[in-house]
């Protein structure tokens, strides 16, 4: 019986790894939105309401001090940058930088928590 060559073995391993990468990739779990023009509590409700109206957004956490809103996505779902910008505009404000993030793995060792989030991607 003919045994697989080293070349064939390498190709199979590469395909396996590639498949794992593709199927293992998950959508971002939250978006951190810089909101320009937001300066008082009474203005926050409109912003959070419009972000929550996006079907993918489960919760919104706003910080006046940081000038940002964090939109937590529902599991397996996410909103596009265009959708987030449109929601901020409908609320009467201007979206600045939008950063998509995945939450750190809660089962990871404590020292891993300080490592940079390799899944984070930033869009402007």
């Amino acid at each position: 019986m003919k045994t697989p060559s080293t070349k064939t073995f390498v190709i199979l391993v590469a395909l396996f790894l590639a498949t794992g990468v593709v199927f293992g990739a998950s959508p971002p779990e939250r978006a951190v939105i810089e909101v320009k023009g937001l300066a008082c509590p009474f203005c926050v409700q409109g912003l959070e309401k419009h972000l929550k109206r996006l079907g993918a957004v489960a919760a919104v956490h706003t910080s006046l001090q940081k000038g940002e809103a964090v939109a937590d996505f529902k599991p397996g779902r996410s909103a596009s940058e265009e959708e987030l910008r449109a929601a901020v505009k409908k609320a009467g404000f201007t979206a600045g930088r939008i950063r998509f993030e995945s939450k750190p793995d809660e089962t990871a060792a404590p020292e891993d928590a300080d490592q940079p989030d390799l899944n984070a991607r930033e869009e402007t």
Partner: protein, 290 residues
């Protein structure tokens, strides 16, 4: 001696100030978000007097605002009024729904930065004669300033500019109201100008996370300059003039609602002829957004 009372000076102040996160007696250019419904309710108690007469007005203006887009808002305002005039030992009184005001507000300028916004808006609208203007009492038909309604259709335009930062907010507005004629009588048209400063008294520092409630200290200057009233095309000498109020106040601001109170004290009372002069106005109210 015939005594006139400038309706604009006494009742013009019934017009409430802003609608969004605004000062108490001044308008604001802050946004009303698309689809937002905002309800503002106030009670305003005003008194004007001189040596022989005293007039008291309690007004409860209800304001509803709808955000058509993030730039365009529609505003409707209708006051319930209770007016009381004591003069020459006689007291006369009326109460009822006043005239309804409908306004459109459009944002013409917006500049946003982190923690700061600068905006300008223009407003235009009409006041419709929905209030009764033929009320009577035991002495006959009530004088025009005592009627809940004016009977006339009035037009108004205004502009407002706002700068808001995390610690403070400043608003400036100017409005012109062109009063129509009814039954040969025209209340004097008017120009109002307002300036307001809101300063966050509490909390001193903003937390990194979450939205704290604010306590704002508010200081406003509210001015009304009114033309003389006209009867059959002739100006009435004892009407119109200029009044400037200083208006300290306080606001408690949350994400959903605002509670507020203010007192208006006259700094300048430069009225034409013999008229009761405004003594003070006390205002308290709330606004809720949906």
């Amino acid at each position: 001696m015939r005594r006139a009372i400038s309706t604009t000076l006494v009742f013009g102040l019934v017009i409430v100030g802003g609608i969004a996160a605004a000062p108490i007696n001044t308008d604001t250019a802050l946004p009303v978000h698309k689809g937002e419904i905002l309800w503002r309710e106030q009670i305003r108690f005003m008194q004007a007097s001189d040596s022989v007469s005293k007039m008291r007005v309690t007004a409860v203006p209800s304001v509803f605002v709808f955000g058509v887009t993030e730039k365009l808002a529609l505003i409707g305002m209708a006051p319930f009024l209770d007016k009381e005039l004591a003069m020459d030992g006689i007291e006369r009184r009326s109460s009822g729904l006043g005239d309804t005001t409908l306004l459109g507000r459009y944002q013409v300028f917006q500049s946003d930065r982190p923690g700061e916004t600068r905006r300008a808006q223009v407003l235009a609208g009409v006041k419709l004669p929905t209030g009764d203007n033929e009320k009577r009492d035991a002495f006959g038909i009530l004088p025009r300033p005592l009627q809940p309604g004016s009977g006339s259709v009035d037009g108004m335009i205004a502009t407002v500019f706002t700068v808001q930062r995390l610690k403070w907010q400043a608003d400036f507005d100017v409005a012109y109201r062109k009063n129509g004629e009814h039954d040969g009588f025209r209340f004097g048209s008017s120009v109002t100008h307002n300036a307001a400063l809101q300063y966050r008294l509490w909390p001193g520092e903003l937390p990194e996370h979450g939205i704290p409630d604010y306590v704002y200290g508010v200081l406003e200057l509210n001015g009304v300059w009114a033309y003389r009233d006209e009867l059959q095309g002739t100006t009435i000498r004892d009407s119109g003039g200029y009044t400037l109020f200083v208006s300290p106040g306080v606001q408690y601001v949350t994400k959903r609602w605002i509670a507020e109170a203010s007192v208006q004290l006259p700094l300048v009372r430069n009225l034409n002829g013999a008229q009761p002069e405004p003594d003070y106005t006390v205002a308290a109210g709330f606004r809720i957004q949906y």
